[in-house]
Symmetry: T
Amino acid sequence: MVNSVLVINGPNLNLLGTREPEIYGATTLSDIEAITRTHAEALKLDVSFYQSNVEGELVDAIQGAKGTYDGIILNAAAYTHTSIALMDAIKATGVPTIEVHLSNVFAREPFRHHSYISPAAEGVICGFGAQGYILALDALAEIMKK
Amino acid sequence: MVNSVLVINGPNLNLLGTREPEIYGATTLSDIEAITRTHAEALKLDVSFYQSNVEGELVDAIQGAKGTYDGIILNAAAYTHTSIALMDAIKATGVPTIEVHLSNVFAREPFRHHSYISPAAEGVICGFGAQGYILALDALAEIMKK
Amino acid sequence: MVNSVLVINGPNLNLLGTREPEIYGATTLSDIEAITRTHAEALKLDVSFYQSNVEGELVDAIQGAKGTYDGIILNAAAYTHTSIALMDAIKATGVPTIEVHLSNVFAREPFRHHSYISPAAEGVICGFGAQGYILALDALAEIMKK
Amino acid sequence: MVNSVLVINGPNLNLLGTREPEIYGATTLSDIEAITRTHAEALKLDVSFYQSNVEGELVDAIQGAKGTYDGIILNAAAYTHTSIALMDAIKATGVPTIEVHLSNVFAREPFRHHSYISPAAEGVICGFGAQGYILALDALAEIMKK
Amino acid sequence: MVNSVLVINGPNLNLLGTREPEIYGATTLSDIEAITRTHAEALKLDVSFYQSNVEGELVDAIQGAKGTYDGIILNAAAYTHTSIALMDAIKATGVPTIEVHLSNVFAREPFRHHSYISPAAEGVICGFGAQGYILALDALAEIMKK
Amino acid sequence: MVNSVLVINGPNLNLLGTREPEIYGATTLSDIEAITRTHAEALKLDVSFYQSNVEGELVDAIQGAKGTYDGIILNAAAYTHTSIALMDAIKATGVPTIEVHLSNVFAREPFRHHSYISPAAEGVICGFGAQGYILALDALAEIMKK
Amino acid sequence: MVNSVLVINGPNLNLLGTREPEIYGATTLSDIEAITRTHAEALKLDVSFYQSNVEGELVDAIQGAKGTYDGIILNAAAYTHTSIALMDAIKATGVPTIEVHLSNVFAREPFRHHSYISPAAEGVICGFGAQGYILALDALAEIMKK
Amino acid sequence: MVNSVLVINGPNLNLLGTREPEIYGATTLSDIEAITRTHAEALKLDVSFYQSNVEGELVDAIQGAKGTYDGIILNAAAYTHTSIALMDAIKATGVPTIEVHLSNVFAREPFRHHSYISPAAEGVICGFGAQGYILALDALAEIMKK
Amino acid sequence: MVNSVLVINGPNLNLLGTREPEIYGATTLSDIEAITRTHAEALKLDVSFYQSNVEGELVDAIQGAKGTYDGIILNAAAYTHTSIALMDAIKATGVPTIEVHLSNVFAREPFRHHSYISPAAEGVICGFGAQGYILALDALAEIMKK
Amino acid sequence: MVNSVLVINGPNLNLLGTREPEIYGATTLSDIEAITRTHAEALKLDVSFYQSNVEGELVDAIQGAKGTYDGIILNAAAYTHTSIALMDAIKATGVPTIEVHLSNVFAREPFRHHSYISPAAEGVICGFGAQGYILALDALAEIMKK
Amino acid sequence: MVNSVLVINGPNLNLLGTREPEIYGATTLSDIEAITRTHAEALKLDVSFYQSNVEGELVDAIQGAKGTYDGIILNAAAYTHTSIALMDAIKATGVPTIEVHLSNVFAREPFRHHSYISPAAEGVICGFGAQGYILALDALAEIMKK
Amino acid sequence: MVNSVLVINGPNLNLLGTREPEIYGATTLSDIEAITRTHAEALKLDVSFYQSNVEGELVDAIQGAKGTYDGIILNAAAYTHTSIALMDAIKATGVPTIEVHLSNVFAREPFRHHSYISPAAEGVICGFGAQGYILALDALAEIMKK
């Protein structure tokens, strides 16, 4: 049976490519989805994508993954640092989740150094741009083997 | 005239019964609604229920209670600790509100010890599981007598 | 067999009714005891009362509840915020304890927001004046059923 | 060509006039919109209005301003103090934004003294009630000249 | 009618004269009582003395002053820095209270710089040794005139 | 009768135009005074100017405004963040005061984010360069109407 | 030989009687000087007075006391909380200094709870209005006897 | 001449053996006294025991040791972390005192990591259960030799 | 030309497989080196390994990488949280460095949440056990392409 | 079979006897080793000694104790307060370890009050000079019996 | 052309030689000026001196150095730790400034460890008494060469 | 007799000239040694040099200076901010030590503002590049004269 993965992107990531390119690069969210889809095919994984700027809709998306997806890749962007609700959703749902950030958040403002997501996630990957999603897929594939 | 109460539940409470049962117990949100409805009838109170994972929709719900409900029972879950908007909504609306938590939040992680809701609420009841809603109804009934 | 409950009140609660009535109301400690006794009878619970201004005597009272009482309702007043000894007594004794406060402590000075009692208690009820003791009896009765 | 401005109001501002008038005054949001529209006409500026209680919808509104509006006047209310997502949206969109508050937030509770919006805004105007929007229009008009 | 004053001394002050004389001087508690009594007579004030090492007994003493004494001089010693119960007792009793310390507590360890008594007291006198009690009597006499 | 306004500028503002122009712009203090005077005339307000590098002389100037001026525009520069004396002077004098900053202080070093002036001021305007004084005049004119 | 005392008053105390009378009372600085002079005569002490709003002039005054005055009574007002220079001046000059405050600073805003003066002073007297200066004279007289 | 030692145990230690045995072990306070007495005899030391749950009575006990005992072994339990009065009593009495804890307090909750007793004690021994008292006797015997 | 990578492991990682396997798993450091070597061959990268328990020797190793290696994979273990010297070495050397942790450090003790390495690294990968080294190789390979 | 103990001393302890004798006494490290060896013989324990100024070599020594020694006595000196690596080594090795300090670290600078070693150690003994090692041997002997 | 240097000394430094000689030594400010003048001559530098106890006059002096002096040696004494205005003056004026302290401020009270001057200065020299001014002249001479 | 000085340089200073030249300049450690040697000869001082990246070896070097060198110039680089062991070594050895930094550490990241070395050093010189070593030699020469 084919394992499936839900990639969830949070607030302002829909602007990728136009938003502060010196921090986030010129790659658009569509580019990331394309790259990720290609790599998922190579790994024989089904992959779906969801983006929202609304914290509660991201909670809904995580809840909805239960029973449908075998893993989540979550880039919660700004909500990473303020959302206990997302942390609770990951714990409540129980689907293995990998936290991804495009930029190296630890080299930026102090308020981006703390994450409510991290303690509920399997692991964290940050600083590698679009490739971070590829690495997260690899990591999920390995976790699913176990 | 019959007094009416709006019971508002916040993020991830729709998962009750399946979510971390060692913390939240096996009771579902439907169970809680049924128990609460029965007790409300005994107290001759009308009772309605609302749940959302979206902070702003909870703000809408509190605002909408004005003129329609005589009291609110609010379990804001994760938003308890981060939402000034909910606190402002309670103050702006002026409907007596009781804060309820299923678990004893003070025996959990430190970030769950602070509540923006409490200073705007009539009082706080936490740690008694589903019975907390019953106790909150009793407390509201008493407040409405005054 | 009839279950029994010990209601313990801490420092300055003997002054209730005369003390800062704009915060604590006009009800005296005797009034509270009368109301509580009546409700206990309705619940078929034995109830006893103890008040002291001395932290160590409150520790003694909690210790003494072991083997004699099935539950404790504790309003530790000012010692709530400073007494690790009371917390240790509750843990050491193992009798289910409910923390009660007449006023909504979270709407008062910051040093009243932290409680050493809460993590050792079953749950917390605050802000409902004398009715808080009634609600605590209800909660204890429910806990004793289990 | 006529410059255009989007005025965005955040959570609970739809209740203006009824909400805690001792802090916010009796002016309604409609009153503010009318005053602002009149002043915009005097300045030969187009002006539109948006209000939402949902943080993510405010993010959407800021994003949508790009390419359509030449400036934003933002009263993010309670989200001012908790929303990194709004800050990121302002930075990502690049439309000059002025932060407005009706009350003098620095004379209120400490948690209203910090703003995530301010570092991303052109400037801040607070404490002048409805007139704050007039002043913000003047400020934007001046910025647009450059 | 003659006004009366209760002088309350807290923990370890019974050791005065033998305790760390380089900080507290050679004067004993009896010496202080004698000096204070003499000055009280000159001011035509009745004066009584109480000392205890038990926080709760000091609370009792303050409560007992109500209706019997027109003013309290309180040197709560170590409990100054840790006792919310004493603060509550002063507020609950409503008898004008002056806080006295023999040594200049602000020139000592940081944990002696904060006092729970001060906000509930009329005023504070510290650093003048036994004379501090004389000055406090003078201050009380002046307050009683009003 | 014509209302009058005193514009007070604090330390180092006499260097404007030469001082760190990348932060403060090329406009000199004389330029600001000229612009402000012109706008005051349009508003039919008398306006005077005072600048000093000495905190106590700024206190003197605020005190001197009482009975002579109907409003103060205060840019306390560095003293904004350290001077309780200026805050006390504003409160003691009771003349409506508007706090102005040329730069957006919230986008600069953290020690410039706190202001002792703000809680005593009517409102705050920052980040708009010389135009901030114009906006402050408008705000004062509105306040004087009431 | 007659001992002499210099009474130094800091910023905004020249406004006493008009400044926030609900905190500072209706007594003017002249009244305080008259009362103090009368009491000094009774104690056979010479007394002089100095007031300035400039921190450095207060430093000058303290320095100037050396060799001329046997004691200082210092009400540094707002500079109490921010001036290390005044603390250094007291230490450098070595003239016994008593810190006085009209109001009970510990019952006011938190930033008024810390004093740089206190560790360098003989003692502190606060909360007794104008009488505080009388008490300070008594305390100095006693110190001078030693 | 035989040296004598007073062993003082604080709040809740009377419950040893029944209290949370996974932390404190099954040994009762009587067991500890017996073991300690036996070891004291081997060291030719007189030993007495005192236990109280009242902070002030522990202060009394320490004060009473002066002139009667040559050393104190103090397990202040919960008061370790909150009692400045005990610290002052040790300093005021001057009898060499050794602080003992049954459990390794540094491996427990953060509020048990700070001790007001330690800076006034000769030394600290923690984590060795009942044997800690034996070690403390050995340490005191060594100190008494000097 | 073949790119080369230096894998540096810090203190106690030589004990992997025996050390707290519930946290770090049963894989030994040799296992990790074997897996990493195999994957490096697949990526056509040369790879070398170094381990030391001495902070300064890890500094030496990073310095030595300059001119010899095209990338570093660094698991600094406990020194991650305390070593500014390692951070300085990475910056001084300029070789692209990826920070790896076997466990999810953000789900462990708070003192493991801060890293001095992260701001100097390209990115961070944590929580994936031995696979983290594989992912880091992939990330480095991608970085080297640019 | 004879149990064996490794005594590890950290930085600057090689200077004992010459280093700040008012704090550490005149006893040299050789003296301590001699006293300890004698006591070990009385307890029928083998004992070895190791000292290093290099944090990583102390890590090596702790690791090397596994399988060879039945207990460790560790005086990590300055590294006590800064070394997570030593803490990890103790946990990774699993050999029972007792933390010893010659001086009463809690009566010294605040940065010496926190220990990374303590939570990983069996217990802590401090303030008894060279005798601390004797007490630690006794404690280890008791632990080894179990 | 001859370079010129302005030496600015802050509050209480006029008392040098009489002020707390155990900290500041017996050298007077005149002595320091003489030594500095002699060394300046050897370096072929013009040197002037200024001292004031008034923060704002020190700001004036720094501003006045622009265009007249090639370097400043600033011992701001107590204002070092509290004056943002001096920091701003240095930045606004742009004259190379060296911060000097007679005593080693880092070995004194914690509030003397922070300096607002340092980030705006070329460098800092502290702890060398009067010689610090000589070293600062040498440092300035070197900077002027570049 | 000729006095001798040991110059100790800490981690990463061996990379000087290549390491982040925008912060540390192009001068190499050899250059610094040459300049320092030349100046030492002019001062008739013997000078030796030591560099290590290992904290414990720097401790060894400081200890070894006792009896051989009359003064130490220490640039502990990154260990400045984290090493209590170096502070203890300086105190234990008693050789006068001057702390030097090439860059102005107070104008860099906050974690470089605190130094464990400073309170144990004679004084501090920072921000003057290689010349700092020259100034430190001058300062040591002056100290040795006394």
